[in-house]
Structure formats: C-alpha cells, structure tokens
C-alpha cells in the first residue's frame, strides 16, 4: 500500500527547520488545514511570485533531489529579492511519479537548507501523482512605495548588476558534465556546480535596493533578455558596456567568446539587475563597504532597445539573446 499523501506531507515536510525558517509571527495558521493564514506587517504589502521547475531537455539527469529542491526555492525567492521584498513564507506543490522515501528525504533536506539560507517558512502544500513538477509560490513583504518594479527607470540612471554574470550557464555545463576547459580547477568546477544547483537569491541586496533603485529584476533569462524586459517596461533604452560586465574567476577558464555568450545570454544567474539614480550613486560605496559586489555596467538613456558597446561604440542588439523561447524560468 502506497504511503498516503497526508502521512507523506507530515513525515517529510513537517519539521521546525522548514516551518520556522522565516518569520513565524506572520503565520497565523500553517500546514495541515485547508489553507494557511498569513499577514504582512502593518504598512506593508504582500509580494507574491510563483515558479515551476520541470526536468527539461537540457537538464542534468543525474541530479540530487536536495539540489533540485534548493534550486527551485532559491529561484522563486530571487523574484522577491528583485522586488526589494523580505521573504516570509512559501507553499510547495509537488507532483511526483512515485513515492520514493529516499528521494523525498533528500528533497526535504535540500528544501530545509534553502529555507534556512533565505529565511523563509513553509506554510502549506499539495502533493499529486504525475510527471515530476515542483511548484513554489513565495510570499514576501515590502512597503508599497519602496517596491522595486521594472517600470520606473529614468534616463540618466546607472545600470548595475549585483554579482557575476555567466556562472549559471557555466554551472549548467559543469552539471551536465560537458567538455570542460583544461584550465578549470577542481575548486572552480565546484564553485560553478554550486552556482547552478545552489544559487543564493540576493535578498540582502534586494532590501538595500528597496526605495533606492528606480527599477530592477533578477537575471534569470540572461542579461540581454532581462535588460530588454526592464527597458521595455520603463520605455527607454539601456546602454551596456561589455568590458564592464563582472565575471567570476572560475569563468575565466573558458575562451573569451564563450564567456561573452554566457554573460550576455546565459540564464539562471539570479543576480539583481537594477537602475540607480545618479543622485544615489554614493550608495555604491556604502554597498561595497558592506561586501556587496555591485558593478555599474551601463546606463539608461532616452530611446528604446538594448545597446551594447563591445569595444567599438554602442550598437543596437537585434535579437533578444537570452532564452526568450517558451521554455524558461519566469515571473509572478
């Protein structure tokens, strides 16, 4: 007799590490009823985003369930960070082909680690039998006037990125055990593997950006594609200087052409991309002193589209670049 869904939820997901990782004071009623009850703090609004993770064509087949759980939750939390919101809680809707207790044990452990790292509590869920599908819906809070949208960038604002670009795509290559460059050290390989499977959503930076950045989002579809979302929503053009794009030491093991492709078009970096009014540029020094790795990579200008200076002045980027096609991570 298969393990009932209710025992399943109870056994693997009802533990303090998952249920109190975030801000339990916001949760009036958690797992176990028809629904959960939550409330944002006084004066704040609730930020909601949903993300599904499916094992696609270009996905490592030999994944560890704990990594899968970590990645699913971190990717969803990244959307909260992008809004300048503080993570509070999440629901998990898990569709599984079978009840494999070993798999579930690993999954729950990875989920608990991601919950702890991002300070977010599991408040409810649903389990269904079917092809593997991991849906995470995350809740955060922010003052409405401080929320970082995509739409409010102004010409003259600095375009900034919160961390290295291209690691997500290079990490996928590592995870897929593709041909790797000779110069890639074991340490660099491990770093990239972690960057793919265990991305850390930039929540602390996101809180700094609340009420400061004029617009922002997270780089999940690739820099050019996400920059285009911001430019379109804000009805302006973005200038990007290739030479200023930050990349990790690990990525330097690849040839320049490959690095460029991944930094511009690779997805799943989960670093924040945002515009900063010049009047707030002193924040850059403050953030640097706090250990944030924020890099100015261009600026917003009147006009439309994405313009790249690859060493010969700005040229408009014709193609979306990142994975704009149907398969891809997405937004709320």
């Amino acid at each position: 007799m298969p393990l009932g869904e209710f025992e399943l939820i109870g056994r693997f997901f009802r533990n303090p590490a998952l249920e109190t990782a975030g801000s339990p004071e916001h949760v009036t009623l958690g797992i176990g009823d028809d629904a959960a009850l939550i409330a944002p703090s006084v004066g704040k609004q609730l930020v909601v985003s949903t993300d599904s993770l499916v094992l696609g064509t270009h996905f490592p087949a030999d994944y560890l369930p704990g990594n899968l759980a970590y990645r699913a939750l971190a990717a969803a939390v990244s959307d909260l960070a992008a809004m300048g919101a503080r993570p509070l809680s999440f629901t998990l809707a898990l569709t599984l082909p079978e009840v494999d207790e070993h798999w579930l044990q690993g999954f729950a452990e990875g989920l608990a680690e991601a919950a702890r790292d991002h300070r977010i509590s599991l408040i409810g869920g649903d389990t269904t039998r079917g092809p593997l599908n991991i849906n995470v819906t995350v809740f955060g809070e922010v003052r409405a006037r401080n929320v970082v949208r995509r739409a409010d960038a102004q010409p003259g604002d600095l375009l900034c990125v919160g961390g290295p670009l291209g690691d997500g795509a290079a990490g996928l290559a590592v995870a897929l055990q593709q041909a790797l460059p000779d110069g890639l050290s074991d340490q660099a390989r491990d770093y990239l593997f972690q960057r793919f499977w265990r991305p850390r959503a930039q929540c602390e930076l996101g809180l700094e950006l609340a009420g400061v950045a004029s617009a922002g989002l997270d780089v999940s579809d690739g820099l050019l594609a996400d920059a285009r979302h911001l430019a379109t929503a804000s009805d302006l053009a973005l200038h990007i200087r290739l030479a200023d794009l930050p990349c990790s030491d690990a990525l330097l093991a690849w040839p320049a052409e490959q690095r460029r492709e991944w930094m511009l078009g690779g997805g799943d970096d989960y670093v924040l991309l945002f515009t900063l009014p010049v009047a707030s540029s002193r924040c850059l020094d403050v953030w640097a002193s706090q250990g944030f790795q924020v890099t100015v990579i261009g600026e917003a200008v009147a006009g439309s589209g994405i313009w790249l200076d690859a060493g010969n002045g700005y040229e408009q980027v014709a193609q979306p670049g990142g994975y704009q096609h149907f398969q891809g991570s997405s937004n709320a």
Copy 2:
C-alpha cells in the same frame, strides 16, 4: 519559431475578464513584473492555498481545455470557501508540453469563466514546458477570529453538509463515458457532467460560516475521509446518519449500493462539511430561506473516529473510505 512565453502570457491571460474578476483594489501590482503585490483589507488576514491538477490514470482523456481550467480554479477556491474566506486573487503556474494556441484559447476562456463565477482575479503566473500540470495558488481574506479551521469542533455540535454528495464521482463516471444506468435522463447526465467539470466552490456559504461554524472543510477526498480529517484535528468522534445524506435527483438513477459508495467515498464534491454549535442552529432556517441547501447529517461526540448509522445503529468505520492514497486533491 515557437511563440515566446511572454507573448503567450500576454496574449491569452492578459484580459480584463481575468485580471479584474475579483477585487482589483487589493492588487497594487499585477501581471508583468517579477512578482505581484496584494494586501488584505484592514483587520483581515490573507488565506493561501495551492493545488495542482495533473491528468492522472482515471482522468477523462477527451477533456476540453476550458473545463480543465474551470475545474482547476474552482477546486482551489473551494479551499478558501472552506476557511470562510472571501476569494481575492490567484496565480497560475502552467506547465505545457507544447504551445497549442487553440488549446490555450479554450483554457483561458474557461479560466475567465471560473474567475468571474468565483470573483477572483489573476495576478501572476509562470509558464514552463513539460508534461501538463496546472498549479493554482489562491488568495482570500478573512478576519483571523472568524476563520473556519478543522480543529475547533466541540462535542454536541451538529455535523452539516452544504450540498449533495456523490455527484463528483457520478460526474466522473459520466465524463469517462462509463456504462450509465438506463434511467439516467439527458438532463441528469448533463447536470453530473457539469458537476464534475464545472464545480462551483461554495464561497457564499463559506462567508456565512465565518465566525459561526465551529470547524469545517470541503469534501474533496470523500465524505468519510474528510470527516476523519475534521474528527482527528478536533480530537473527537463524528456520528453520521446514512439516511440523512443528501443526494441529487440525478444520482437516484443509480442503484442504492452505488449511491452509497459514492456519497461516502467519492471525491471531488466540493461541498462544505462543517460543525455547527447547537446554539447557532437557528442559522439553519436562515440559510434555508436564503436558498442554501444545508443538511444536518450527524453530530460531533466525545471520542474518536467516524461512526456510521446505516439503519442498525452507529458502527465505527474502520477504513478511511475516500481516496486517502497518494494521488488526490489536497490542502494548502
């Protein structure tokens, strides 16, 4: 070239029928950013529930996408009704094997109908390529002190159900085009088909129950299984009189044995099951005058377990009864 996910969302899901079906004043920021912003009314809390719908083994293969969408949203909203909450908004995470514009058109239409019927607005979503999976996360609001939980029934309370039982299972038999009884009229068949594909969550009744019912949930796993959830959470026993279970005229076309099986163990009825303090029993007359079909089917007593009087006095029900196994609809 496949239709991009962003155009897909824009084309099929960005329409006023979906975005303003509920209470737009609660939505500060809707579809199109990294996340949506919502806020409950002053003094109320947000109720959250998530549900995934997968085409399982015992699922009609010749479904209409509009029906699938309707059923997915209505089933999720039913959890809000069970809590006594007013529906506000929902997110949709849609995993699809391919971009079929005809399918999406039908799906979006059914979703818009369900959104209108339940007064709930689409505020965000996610699209992914993979085996079909429809995840809906719904948000409602309720005053914390009025919320209808599973845990607060008291011995002596009346056990009530908000509508006919067994229609969900009979509707599935109709949808699966199984052998149907000769006496089943076309009208009755259509009624049951609609009850399966287009269930109406009992939101209006749920609002009546807020602050009045001592405990409650919705019948999604089958009467006996759901009654057991309530009894366990409230730490008491429930007495149920078989002769008092309400069933539709359509169900009368089946033999008594089949009716009994479906009324007790069939899932997907999405009617509310709740306990009512005797002191509030005058509500029964008020509800009847308002057109609600509430039936008293038993009572809560000290003890444990589910006890059924099938004509020879109360006997304890040993087996869970409904679909307690891994595949099934579930809770928040």
